[in-house]
Every structure is written in C-alpha cells, then in structure tokens.
C-alpha cells in the first residue's frame, strides 16, 4: 500500500467514510464527522500508521487533508506515487 493510500484510509476509517469516499478535499469541521473527538482519533491513527509523533502545534494545525500531507512530508514521509 502506498503512503498516500495509507493516509487516505486513516481518514476514511477514523471518520467512518466509505472505502471509495474522496478525502483530498476534507477540511476540519466542514464535514460534521470530523469533529474534535474524531480529530484526536485521526491524529492517533496517522501516528500509529506511520510510526511518528505529532507535536502540539502540528495537531492544532492539521485542519485539512492537504495539511496532513504536508505534515507527513515534514516527518520525512514521501507521498509520491512511484
């Protein structure tokens, strides 16, 4: 599984979205399923999937799928498709 699809499934699983749901445009609180409780689940899921630890600032900043991609890159995780 590519890093990108792993990140996508973190979002789908923690937010309870169907397996084919588009996630690239997701933004915190735009969708009612991404609330503060789901946010913490999402943080935990991504941390465990990629074996990383987010800082407080990173948790507060992760306000969209796009930001999550940027944060992963800052942890040295490439999301390019090979």
């Amino acid at each position: 599984m590519s890093n990108l699809s792993r990140l996508e499934s973190c979002f789908r699983e923690t937010l309870g979205l169907p397996p084919d749901a588009p996630v690239a445009g997701l933004r915190y609180r735009d969708d009612p399923v991404w609330d503060s409780v789901a946010h913490m689940r999402l943080v935990a899921a991504i941390e465990s999937a990629f074996d990383i630890a987010f800082s407080t600032d990173q948790i507060l900043d992760m306000s969209s799928f796009a930001v999550a991609c940027t944060l992963l890159k800052s942890h040295g995780i490439s999301l390019e498709t090979l």
Partner: protein, 471 residues
Amino acid sequence: MTPLPVPPLPFLSFLNKRDHDAAPALHDGGSSGWLSFGELHEKIVSLLPSLPATPRGLVFCLLPRTVEGALAYLTAAASGYALMMLDPGTPRLDGLIEAYQPEWIILPEKSDLSISNLYRRVRLDLAGLALWQRTGTASSSPHPDVFLLLLTSGSTGGRKAVRLSYANLAHNTDAIIASLDLTARERALLHLPLAYSFGLSVLNMQLAAGGSVLLTDHSPVGRDMWDLARAQEATLFAGVPTHYEMLARLGLDRLQVPMLKTFLQAGGKMPLSLTEDLLRQVQARQGKLFVMYGQTEAGPRLTCLPLHKMPEKIGAAGYALKDGKLAIEDGEIVYTGPNVMMGYAEGRADLALGDTQRGRLATGDLGQLDSGGCLRITGRKQRFAKLFGERIALDDLEQLARVVVTAYALEGADKIVLMTTDKDAATHRKLKDHLVKSTGIASPWLEVRAIDAVPYQTTGKVDYRQMREWL
C-alpha cells in the same frame, strides 16, 4: 439606568442596578469587543419589548455560543417566560414544537424551519438570530415556578425534559459559586453548548459572580480557541473527560495560555491516571482543579471536590453542595436539596404541573460515601446487564476490556455487546477470551461488534442511546 423587575435569578441581578457597571461581561472574539455589564443591561432593556410578557408562555431558545446567543437567553429569562434551551442543530425540531407548543422560537437566522404556517417572523434586533411568534390559539400557561426546560437527551431527538424552577437555578448557581470560591476576576472560556446544563451553568455562575465569559464556537483541538483564550486572557476552562483527554495529549503548557489556571471537570468520571496527570499540570502553574458531579435534574451540580482535598480524595466526586444532602440507598446515590428539579415533562400539558419531585433525586448512579461525606461514584445503575440473576456493571466491563468502547444489555434475554472500532477478527477473539477469563462470564453471552466510530453527544459524552439503536 432603569432597574428592571426581573425574576429572582442571581445571574440577572445586574439588571437591578442603577449605576452603569463598566466591568466586562461578554465577548465572543468578534470585532465589537467586550460588552460590559452596563451595556448588557441597556441591550436587554432595548430587546425586551420584542418579547411582550403577557400572557406568560414558553420560548424555545436554539442559541449559538455568541454574544447574541447569550443576549437572547438573558432577554428571554428576564422577560419572565419559561425557556427551553435547545441545540441549534436539534434533530426533529418539529416534533418538539408539536409537543411543547412554544409561543416563541429564537434560532439562528439561517436555520431551515418548516413551521411558517404556525409561526410568523417578528423583528428582533440581534444579528444572526430570528424570532418567530406562534399564531392562533394560546396554550395553557406554564406553572409560575417553571423557569427552564432541558432535554434529557438532546442528540437523539427525544422529547423528555426536566423542569427546573427559578429557585432551583438560584440555589444551584449560588452553591456552585460558593463551592468554587468564584470571584469577579475569573474569565471563563465557554466552548460547551448553551443547551447543555454544564455549559449553561458556567454562563450563569460567571454573570452571577460578576465575572466575564468568553464565548467561542472554536474547538479545543484547533489553534483558534487557544489564540482567542490567550489574547483575551481567559482564566477558567470547563470541560468533560474527552476535553481533558485532548488537553492531556496537547499538553497544557504547550498551548501557551499561562493565564488559564482554573479548571472545572464534570460530565463523567475520568480515568484516575488522567485526573492525576491533569492535577500535576494544573499544580505546576499554581492553578486550581475542581472535579464535580452533576445531573441535569439537579440544575445541574450535586457535588464538588475542591483542590485542597485533591491528593487525598483523588478519583472521588466530592462533597454535596451547600444545602444539599447525599445518601446511599441500596447502593444508589440519592440527593436531596433545593436544586432538585420540579419533575419531568413530555409535553405542554406537563408544564402546568407543580413540584412532583419534592426535592429528592434518585440519581441512578451507584456510589459510596465515606464518614466525612465524600462521595465516590462506582458505577451507573442503568448500565447493568443481568445474567442468571447476577448484576454485571457494564462500566466495569469497559474498564476491563480497554479497547472496548461500550457494552450493554439487550432487552429480554440479556447479551452483552462490546463495540469496538477495531475490525480485526483475531482482536475480537482475544478480547472475548480476555473477558471470559477475567470475569467468568460465559462466551455465548458476549458478542463483539465492529463499528465505524464511537458516537458522541454534542457534550462530548459517549452516546449510549445511539449505540442501543444499532442493536
């Protein structure tokens, strides 16, 4: 300024003053800045003619956490009407309107309200809010003592509400202030829903104590709330266990809100390790932590564990508030006091009823009292399964299972259903084996089910009713 003849509620007492009070009262981060108590007074005087008070009726208040939302609440309270506080996103509002026949409805302007045949919109000078007045025949007046109606379960669309009197709210607000030793210097960061008894009590206690309230729609896991708290120097945070789990993960010090020193925790028992961790962080900043226990039925606070009892009594729910008494009857916590509701309501006819509760509340929670009067909650009476005559506390099973989110009994033939977001069949088997070994409950009475996400109420508590609907 003109003193207003208002109902005897401590959080409206500023309306009895003649002098303009320049002390800050409300702010929501908007461009208009802090509204002082004097300005609040003037604003309420100007709004009151929109809600002519006779004959006395019922107002539905679906209010956002903004200065306008708080103003609408206070104006409705000052008008002498009975209020039902509701979440702006209340499901099946039509059913509630049909059941309670409110004379007035205040709700966000953008709300979709399919009641135009029964209600007409009237002018209300509050940005973002709309006022609707019922047309046609009048319903019977609520009992003169009834002040506030709060739903017992807001998120599931049920219509059962508690009836709280003016005296209930007056007593409880004063007792809360006494138990927290609250001063006018405190500035509360209010991020809890106004229709949630805990959230509303924070607004009430602050105004009654002459303190200020920073209302916010932001969430504890976003940057905006903490930027606002820092800029406006919030000193008091009130939250339920899920909020403190978030704070624990984020780290209080890393949020850079050094002024935030008073922490209130209610809305459910926290794991001991979380309370200990929170206590350490709060003490490190010379702050105060109050753990409290309450129920909407009690207006809402029952007990408080103050900081100075904390290392010794950590994990306990604390002591009965002023004028309240605790007793344990057959294991169940029973509270008597002047803040116990008048009774329940299922619809308009019940609003005419007087006090049917007589100051006594069987809480449905299980607990122990020590000789000093300190209460420890051990479980919840309603959350039991019965297997062959033996009672099994589901809260205990939750603690044992750890990964498990909840468990409960089916009607009739009891079966304990453990719900988890883990979808791995091997994990399910391990979980079941672990519980069979540690409790002696036979395997056929345990079922593990995967769910997509744990449902939460808007208050942050686990929504067990929703889970029951999935069975």
